[in-house]
């Protein structure tokens, strides 16, 4: 899952990026509204964490511009706790509103829910045959046995599982699994897929040659 963090407060941005990165998200960052608009409209993020009091273009403008072209889930993270601000945020196209100071546990839960809803999945556990993917705990079990995956492997499994039945192109996988700072080798996705197949069974992920990967529902 690839997430964009738009926050002008450097110390806070650093904490957000680190926390999301450690959870397994691919994280991009923007320090002002202008940069935020530019990035959010260029890439298909799974979610955007957006501050309101931003230099150059404020959060409202970022949201407005983004909504003209994209349906990316947006979570507003603001110190403005007034009811009117929250209403304005949600009516302006945001999907969630979290007031600073916040807890990372809650931020992560809300982001998960946001992403789940955006792909039409209501439950936090995705069951595919004997394999269960717990998107809350980031764990995968096969026939009740826990299978240990690296964060990147898990992210790949989750991405394919949430979009099960749909063909996911290799570029899309790159976009969603790797952040802007990750060095991405061209065959990295294939390496991850082969590792996953070893752990969860070779039939779990099918390859459509030249097009991408798919988990058949």
């Amino acid at each position: 899952m690839r997430v964009l963090v738009v926050e002008d407060e450097a110390d806070l941005r650093r904490a957000l990026v680190q926390s999301l990165d450690e959870t397994g998200y691919a994280v991009d960052q923007a320090s002002d509204g202008e940069e935020g608009i530019q990035k959010a409209t260029t890439w298909d993020y799974d979610a955007v964490v957006l501050d309101i009091m931003l230099p150059r273009r404020n959060g409202w403008e970022v949201l407005q511009t983004l909504r003209q072209s994209k349906r990316t889930p947006v979570l507003i993270l603001s110190a403005r706790d007034a009811l009117l601000d929250r209403i304005r945020g949600l009516d302006g196209g945001a999907d969630d509103y979290l007031v600073k100071p916040f807890s990372f546990v809650e931020l992560h839960a809300r982001l998960r829910a946001l992403i789940r809803r955006s792909v039409g999945q209501a439950s936090s556990i995705v069951q595919i045959g004997g394999i269960a993917i717990d998107t809350t705990k980031h764990t995968v079990t096969k026939d009740g046995e826990t299978v240990v995956l690296t964060p990147r492997e898990y992210a790949l499994v989750e991405l394919l599982a949430l979009h099960r039945g749909r063909l996911i192109s290799r570029t899309l996988i790159y976009d969603h699994i790797f952040g802007e700072d990750d060095s991405s080798l061209s065959n990295l996705v294939d390496v991850h897929v082969s590792h996953i197949r070893k752990k969860l069974g070779s039939g779990f992920i099918s390859t459509r040659r030249g097009q991408g990967y798919i988990i058949d529902g």
């Binding site: 407060e9 110390d11 904490a15 009091m53 931003l54 230099p55 110190a79 600073k100 100071p101 546990v105």
Partner: protein
Amino acid sequence: MVKSLRWRLQIWQAAILGLVVIGFGTVIYFQVQRSALDEIDAELLGGARILEGVMRTMPGDLLEHGFMLPPRPRNDRRPPNGRPNPDRPAQPRTLSSVPEPWDQALQLPPLMLQPRGPQDQLAYFAIYSGDRRLIKAIPPEMASGWYMPRQPVQFRVVDFRREVVLHGPHETSIIVGKDIRPQFDRMRWLAIRLALTGLGVMGVGLMGGWWMSGSAIRPIQQINQTVAKINASNLAARIDVQMMDRELRDLATILNSMWSRLEQAFEQQVRFTADASHELRTPITVLLSHAELALARPRSASEYQETIATSLRAGERMKSLVEDLLVLARADAGKLALRKHPVDLKTIGEEAVSMQIPIAERSGVKLKCDGQRAIAWGDSERLSQVATNLIGNAIRYNRPGGQITVTTMASDGQAILRVSDTGVGISAQDIPHLFERFYRVDQARSRASGGSGLGLAICQSIVEAHDGSIVVQSELDVGSVFEIRIPQPPNKTEINKPLTLPGGIDPTWH
């Protein structure tokens, strides 16, 4: 009840109305009484004068012997010249039965003394000689006895009878009187009628007064109701001044405008509190998020170090914000404990400049002080804070290669410190808001460089606490000039004294 304005008005009105009615009634009563008596007196005196005139035409002896003697009844055994027996008054006789020839002359007065109305009494008269003998009385039983008036004419009241007594010829005294009981009765009736009318007038007057005071108080009650509706959470209610009289409209307008100002102040306060909490939230969020992140999993020493450094920065920011808020709160409460003594703004400017030169150099800005002696009456610590703040802003809103000049001078009893820069300038629409709390011309620039948005508000508060003024002139892309003016020490001789005394206390001023 006495505390009620309406009741007090009513009581005063009742008192005044009562006095007027009573006074008026009394005057009318006595006036009527007087004129009634005057009429009777004139009638009696007229009769008496006629009697006197008749008597004057008679010789004294005739008066003594003829007129005086009552006509002798057939059974009267007394000598013709015998005195009338006081124990046995002369028998009542009608005037027409007086046989004496000059009795005719007396017919005129008694005719005059006929009753005037159905209730009027017949007048009577009596003539006494100088030796107190009754000469003549008609009707005789009404003669009340000899009386010699001290003045030629005297009026008196005896047993409900009004009498006029005058000196007649030959030492006689003539008494003409009348029973005035009917008049007394009439006066009593008049008094009762007056009292009833008075009460009626009072009643109508009081009712009218009650209605009037009610309608005068109604707008006040309207004001009351509006005031009752207004409280801290709802300052929106206003008095409808459209229908009010001028006097109350003025009051209501003043109240309305006061509420408007209050509402504005409240809104400002609410906004200020929201802004302050928002400003505090940011470092708190940084602190909490980094702490949470650090504890999420085992970290390396350098990671912990970084967390602590970040927390320290957040803490410092909170501290300076809280300090700024405290200064403002104190200034608002008028408790900015200034320790005033003569201070040279030149020294303050130079110190502030030398402290900030390293920061200015880092930003590529030239900073210099070019001042003359300017003694101000102020708190050197606070004024340094102002100078540092202004210079800090000038650096922050400047460009590499820019210049900042601090000049000081004294003029018109005021010490002036001026910070001019060749920075980015301030747009005309920002200038009016410049000294507002948490107002930022450029969000990014200010916060990134650690500004709280309170600096200029604090400068203004400090300068105003010194009875001074702060003004700004600015042109976008050209630069800004901030100027503070602080009054000089009240006494000129202070300027020549040592600038700082131990503890900042000047003995001549305490």
